[in-house]
Assembly symmetry: D2
Homo-oligomer: 380 residues x 4
């Protein structure tokens, strides 16, 4: 196995999921490369050291520019807040590094375009961490659609519901709360949650032509952790849109952090001429499948328990009936990235795919202002 | 018990549900009035006779005008297609009859306004058969909201999914298929299915201010049963809209007859500050309830099996654990109508409530054409 | 239609379910006979009158012996407590009446043998009200098994869980509580709940050869309503047994009134070589079905929503998606009884079937005392 | 952190789950010890090398006796077939090693007694890998019971259903199939699956006094992989028993490998005076909880999604809504073992607990032969 020397930027929630994936991947999958935890970068040296000790990174950096320039790094993994993705990625591309970037790719389409241009010019392998494509149940959905099991698609509906920010006492900004600060996050649930729904949707159902949207900020002001002052909240707490796909199907999308009772309820349903599919992140190891071609009296929604060797990725884990969890989706993404390297054909979602999603979120935010249907720009 | 002499117009699906309700109601509920099956009216005398024999109607009519004028009829029940509701109801009101009218009230708001004017002028008791308000689980939802259990409402989402008309071979028009004929039905799923969702939503969550919508007709042409020719399909096969309620909550609504795997999947979910509710017509005897005030470690969605004596209407049926079905919702509507007569205070949904729903469907259909947010007219 | 003049004995819960069935049956099913509510019998004349008025019975009796002898009665319906079933049924048979008897058929096998002898000698149509065979989902299960869909059966498991008598303050005996009085009920949950499970099981899976059982009375003493004294409780609160069927399959059966959270949770599951089935009374309109012959990646438990015209009995009710409830199972039993009359071939469960179930409950109660496996006597 | 040098015996399914746990544990939990993958032992040197390379073991052995004697090993992990547990464990204890042993502890009680004696005499920390105690939902169940939330327990029911060996073509014996060879496995599902159910049950609900059981071998002969001949099958394919716990509660237990549709469906339900609990391995991240003290109209089974920081072990993983899988249960077991070392108080299940389970399976197998209730020997 060849080493794949990782330089990780960020030590938060995503720094942990990525690191765990690098550690587990070769124990379960036979691959040409083995990730090596070469360095982790954080502005705070103590935090970087502590993270490195816990996860086994061999060195630390406190300035991402130094990390990007190091000769002993093959791949830059960007797990830092949204507002620094572009700058880092462009520098990493220039330095000839492979790049794995957390989602959303950028704060908006124009910024993402520059990132795509940079990796295209540098010809470096690149990927965005839209990990939900690698839930085995979701990958199976993709296979079933590609096999034509559903036939013509009429409807797509997705939602991502949380109840995390209902309390008015929650501050905005700072470590752990930067997702509530519009300057750092770019938008609220549109970029954070809907972006996941959109990436999956376009993977499964093709491009989106146009959208009409509305957004809302239920709590208008919150104390800002960094300034200590009560400030206007700039992010959207909820974001809903109707969409028309290029294939003629109609869609509803919704995301919110004000849905009491839901912690991370990302669901999607697809209704085709012959069959339908439903998936739910709260039971990510199941896929609901309805096939109209079943004999009438025994036709019904099938609850597939995605733990068989016939299911995507699953023969590499345990035995039938024993489920995997959230963490393994990142392992699968590393598997596909490495297999892409071996084949010389990049696995998606690439930066270009990430740009396509940013174009949709741009159109959603624009429509929420204009009150009209907005065309979605196409990534070429 | 006093007699309540019924004159029923129509002998189809709804003629059967209403008749069954009149027959069962006094066996289970103690009421001041007993419905008497006085006459059924249908243009085809043979069909009227056959229906009367089966259900125990004492006489028949073949012209609804004659029925409306009969002295031995107290209440006209309109279970005929949508395009004749207005004319019959206005005549019945003039004749001083009480009126129970199938939903939607009329083909559109302006027509419904005339019906409201007629019953208001005649001061006759009136009601629209939006029966889903009387599913015990839905009535319980109303009680929980009225008690303040949910607190401020953030989100409402409803859908009504069917898969009945996916086949391109299905004709339009004529008996059993008039719902596909725009001249008779007025619209497609907007008036047939979404109207149910809208009536429930405004009952539970108050008025709707504005909507943005899209509709689609997937199968553009179908043979017409009456003309024998292939004709353009005028109804909407699918109808989706976003809405803003007067109370500040956001909503998605969707209905379609192209959702493979769903037969009559009317669902709604309401997310409040403290609690959330979910209901599903395919398991109408259950209500899902989440209460954030439960102790953290044992907080979760509760599946309420609505068969206890503490649940609305249920102490009059069987014992805990034994469910009722669809038919009983019509019995409950008759119960409430009769109790309204006794109290001298009409139970909803009245014609005025039906008009309010028609205003929303008008705005939906308009927005689907203009591509803009449309204000909803308020029924006064 | 020919009249079928009913004489009902008993006016409790079961008096109501049967009466409702007689009233509804001809509105939904085309049959040769129409039940006529000729007379209801109760020892208390006021209660008999009140029930007759509510349900439309044309006359009353206060002595069942008089009812049995009336010339204008075709069928005696026994909805009285268990300890009077035998005496009434034997007298009714001698009088040449058809008999519908509530379950369990008798207090024990020997008593039931006399009832079978009486109806056999008199050649009168007879049936036991084990209504759960007529839940459409259960009838479908029977059809699937008879078609060979399951192949060789390995396992059967059934349970009937309630939480009705956990309170130590609940008295025994008297109206509404006779099921807790061993002298009237014969046994506790064994005859009341397990008998249902056993009837269904033998219908679906054939005869039971032997059982090993245990029973328990958790609350040892309760006040007796009729004597006013605290008396020893003679019934079993819980009854569990293992069984071996004649077809080689193994089974677990359990019933209790001490299962907190369950109101009337009758469930059964059958595992065959090729397919499995699960059913649950709390969602009686669904059947869970797993077919191993489905393609591997999309193999899973199917949730069948038993509301289609292809499902047993359902084309006579509403439209797909709209469920029926508990009451309709009694309607179906009347349908099958009448169709049996027309065909001259009795529908089950006949008294002989009821006897077979009593033999199993006898063996269960015996094993609970001996601590050994007991053979089950076969009804011939 | 201090090193905890592991010597693993066995490289199969369990060798993998244990190794993964040793690798992940310090990344997620702060502990005094860090497991070091010192050596793996397998009779086949090539297989040992291959496993060592994949998982990062620093050395290999082909004779477990040499491993046990190595000075650089602190802990012997026995992941070899059941018939060698005792010999290895006794030798390891004599050598003063800590021992983690796969379940069941031994082939039977008498053998297990010797193992308990050996670790007691040597005073070495010891544990049995009954990992299901460490599913967070199961641990929460334990907490709720210990808090008294359920009150007096009336009923316990557990089953472990698989459909793995229905094919008559499946051979017995050899790698991957030793569980079908009675000489290696000791018994069939009784020791393999029921043992899990029994360990959990006694942890949650206390000791079992007596049992009555039945077992069956559906396929009587199978080709033996090692001899190449068709041989009699000595294991039990299914094992069912009724039990009485010391606390007065009644129980049903069932396990089989002939339940079509179930892959590893381990479920248990506990009914208490005030509350009930249900858990299911196929959705291991959920716990169903019913509390009768909830207000009547909104009382129902709660589906707890065990992903909150308030839930056992979960604050060390991801964020609310994101589930863990099967693998993490082994991590938790290592956490508790190490914390036990730090505290000087062994976490269960110890060898003594494993012996108690073996006493129950002994009684089950005996009762299946005698047809009588058998007392369960108590581990002292």
């Amino acid at each position: 196995m060849k080493p794949l020397r990782i330089g990780l930027i960020g030590y938060g929630f995503m720094g942990r999921t990525h690191s765990n994936a690098y550690i587990q991947v070769n124990n379960f999958f036979d691959l040409e490369y083995r990730p090596v935890l070469q360095a982790v970068c954080a502005r705070d040296a103590e935090k970087a050291k502590s993270f490195a000790a816990k996860w086994g990174y061999q060195s630390i950096e406190t300035d991402w520019r130094r990390l990007v320039e190091r000769d002993d790094i093959d791949l830059i993994d960007i797990a830092a807040p949204n507002n620094v993705h572009a700058e880092i990625a462009i520098a990493a591309a220039k330095a000839g590094k492979m790049i794995l970037c957390e989602k959303p790719l950028a704060l908006n389409g124009p910024e993402a375009e520059k990132m795509v241009a940079a990796v295209t010019k540098a010809k470096v392998p690149n990927m965005v961490w839209y990990n939900y494509r690698r839930v085995p149940a979701v990958t199976l959905a993709k296979q079933l659609i590609d096999e034509g099991k559903l036939g013509r698609i009429f409807h797509y509906r997705a939602k991502f519901l949380q109840d995390w920010t209902i309390s008015a006492d929650l501050p905005q900004g700072g470590a752990g709360l930067w997702r509530l600060d519009v300057k750092v996050a770019g938008s609220g649930v549109t970029g954070d949650l809907l972006a996941h729904c959109i990436d999956t949707a376009m993977w499964l159902n093709g491009g989106i032509d146009s959208v009409t949207a509305t957004t809302e900020t239920f709590i208008k002001q919150r104390k800002h952790t960094l300034t200590g002052k009560v400030e206007k909240v700039g992010i959207d707490d909820a974001s809903l849109f109707l969409a028309r796909f290029s294939n003629g199907s109609l869609a509803t999308f919704e995301s919110t952090r004000y849905a009491r009772g839901h912690k991370a309820l990302y669901t999607f349903e697809i209704n085709g001429e012959h069959a339908s599919i439903f998936w739910d992140l709260h039971d990510l190891h199941r896929l609901q499948y309805f096939d109209h071609r079943d004999q009438g009296a025994v036709r019904g929604w099938r609850s597939l328990h995605i733990t068989d060797s016939e299911h995507p990725y699953m023969k590499n884990w345990w035995v039938p009936g024993l489920q995997i969890g959230y963490a393994e989706t990142f392992v699968h993404q590393v598997v596909d990235f490495i297999q892409g390297l071996s084949k010389g054909k990049m696995a998606g979602p690439t930066f270009k795919d990430g740009l396509a999603t940013d174009y949709v979120t741009d159109a959603v935010l624009k429509s929420a202002k204009t009150g009209r249907w907005e065309k979605v720009k196409k990534a070429r």
